[in-house]
Amino acid sequence: MNFVALKMLFGDRAKYLMLLAGLTFSTMLIVQQGSIFWGLMMYSQSGISNINAPVWVTDPNINQVDEVKPLADTAVTVVRSVPGVEWAVPLYKGVQRARLADGNYQQISLVGLDTATLLGRPHTVFEGAIEELRSPDTVVLDQWAVERLGGPDVIKLGTVFEINDRKARVVGIADTQKSFQNIPFVYTTYERALSYSPPERRKLSYVIAKPIPGVSPESLARRIEAETALGAYTDEEFSWKTIRWVLKNTGIGVNFGTTVLLGFIVGMAISGQTFYLFTVENLKQFGALKAIGASTGMLARMILLQSFLVGFIGYGMGVGLATIFGLTAASNEQLPFVETWPLLGGVFVALLGICSLSSAISIRKLAKLEPAIVFRG
């Protein structure tokens, strides 16, 4: 009877396309909203992901990466003395003002990397070289800085601008994760970062560290916490901490979370509704099959086959369309868009749930149906 079920499903083009459109649309809606939401969350932890360090050592009361609570200079030595540390270097991180040739000001996120090693440097440098930071008055900035400070004609290798009235010469352009407020990243050495920023009592923003082979970042972080009075997180833990803080303390969590949730509910309602209508409309046909002698079990298998098949197809098309949208959006960097497996998995499970639920309702209806009804003139 499988082929009968398939013909019932695909044979009625208009009904099938309606059903598919409903499922595709709702899947797309949820995946798209969820991915944008997650993309925004990724923006919020760009301060961590743009610095390549497995372990972050912080003030014990730190809330999130952009709210720097500086440490005493001795912290670097303290961390180095913890067993299992391969390297531990200072990191400066702070928002400063850049002044452009045309007199405009622009906020930048200044990162000072350990002068000798440049540990924590960005993975990808599009143009120039990070090592050039060893020359005086040099900085490496990111693609967002190029965009926000005047475009590729103004900002290129060799361009000179000012950070807090001190000269900065561009020697590299690096690839970074966009930040929440779209403040560009500017990398320089630790000492130069301090000289760019106004004097403060404590200057050391973070200590970044890496465990020796055989020690996991988690266990090193726990060890640092246990043996020093400092806070320590793996980069992943610190990202989550930052994301949780953003969700809790800014409107983004509630506002966008509501949108995502609404998208989810609307999407699932649309799917459930279209499925339900589809099966109800077919109830007469199933009733006829029942009258002819098809058992409820056989009809249940047919309904499940139909709903799961169209569910899978709709899911695939919805995710496909959302991904195409995401790739387009991501390629012009207009929108954050990060599709994650938990989201795709969650939508899949929810859709399966909807398919099962509407099938179950129809099967129940069918089990109770007195087949004589469908044969009345």
Binding site: K7, M8, L289, F375
Partner: protein, 246 residues
């Protein structure tokens, strides 16, 4: 499983295939309640074609539905092939229909997305007969009903009479022991009606089978063995076609 061996009737003796006693059925609640079957007693014998006639609203379709096991009687006893249907569970009734009964009702209920041949083959699909074999059998029967040219047509492309013949083919394809037909010739012209009734009679005449036909169509009276007349939910007259009323 309830497939028992059905005892063969001794030659010359009419054995009952359907035995109905005191069947009642009403619809609705309270004041709106109407009694449609008011105690129907009926025997249908093996090897006969029984015609059920009577005015509109007298309860013919309802009686046929009860015998087909797609509608439950309120009271009374019904046994078919010596099995007491009244006590069957819904699932057992469904299986019984699959194995022994078929019917052509006033509503054909063809599946709109299946071709004529596929529609006619549905009872075989339900029994698990391989697709190719089922379609061949269905095609043969459709051809006998003059539908050989329309095997691949969808119901929406068929006339009322053609749809009716697909429904009849669907009823015949499973070679049922009991065939129930509600106005099977209503949308057919005289010649086609003849062909259809011949097919129905062909089934009924076989010794261990029976056919019940509800009809207004006096042209087919001659094909019946007995004519049972219903009036207001009761059987008031039984007439042997070649004999006198009983």
């Amino acid at each position: 499983m309830m497939t028992q061996t059905i005892p063969k009737p001794p030659d010359g003796i009419s054995t009952s295939l359907v035995t109905a006693r005191g069947l009642t059925k009403s619809f609705g609640e309270g004041n709106a309640r109407i009694s449609v079957l008011k105690g129907v007693d009926l025997d249908v014998f093996m090897g006969e074609v029984l015609l059920l006639v009577g005015p509109s609203g007298s309860g013919k379709t309802t009686l046929l539905s009860v015998i087909a096991g797609i509608l439950d009687a309120d009271e009374g006893e019904l046994s078919i092939l010596e099995q007491s249907i009244t006590n069957f569970s819904a699932a057992a009734k469904t299986q019984f229909r699959r194995d022994y009964l078929s019917f052509v009702f006033q509503q054909y209920n063809l599946l709109p997305t299946l071709t004529a041949a596929e529609n006619a083959a549905v009872p075989l699909f339900i029994r698990g007969v391989p697709k190719k074999m089922a379609l061949e059998t269905a095609a043969e029967i459709l051809a006998e009903l003059g539908m050989g040219e329309r095997l691949q047509s969808l119901p929406s492309k068929l006339s009322g009479g053609e749809q009716q013949r697909v429904a009849i083919a669907r009823a015949l394809v499973g070679d049922p022991r009991l065939l129930l037909c509600d106005e099977p010739t209503a949308s057919l012209d005289g010649e086609t009606g003849h062909k259809v009734v011949e097919q129905l009679q062909h089934i009924g005449k076989r010794s261990n089978r029976a056919v019940i036909i509800v009809t207004h169509d006096s042209r087919i009276f001659e094909f019946g063995d007995r004519i049972v007349h219903m009036e207001d939910g009761q059987i008031d007259q039984v007439q042997h076609v070649n004999g006198e009323p009983t």
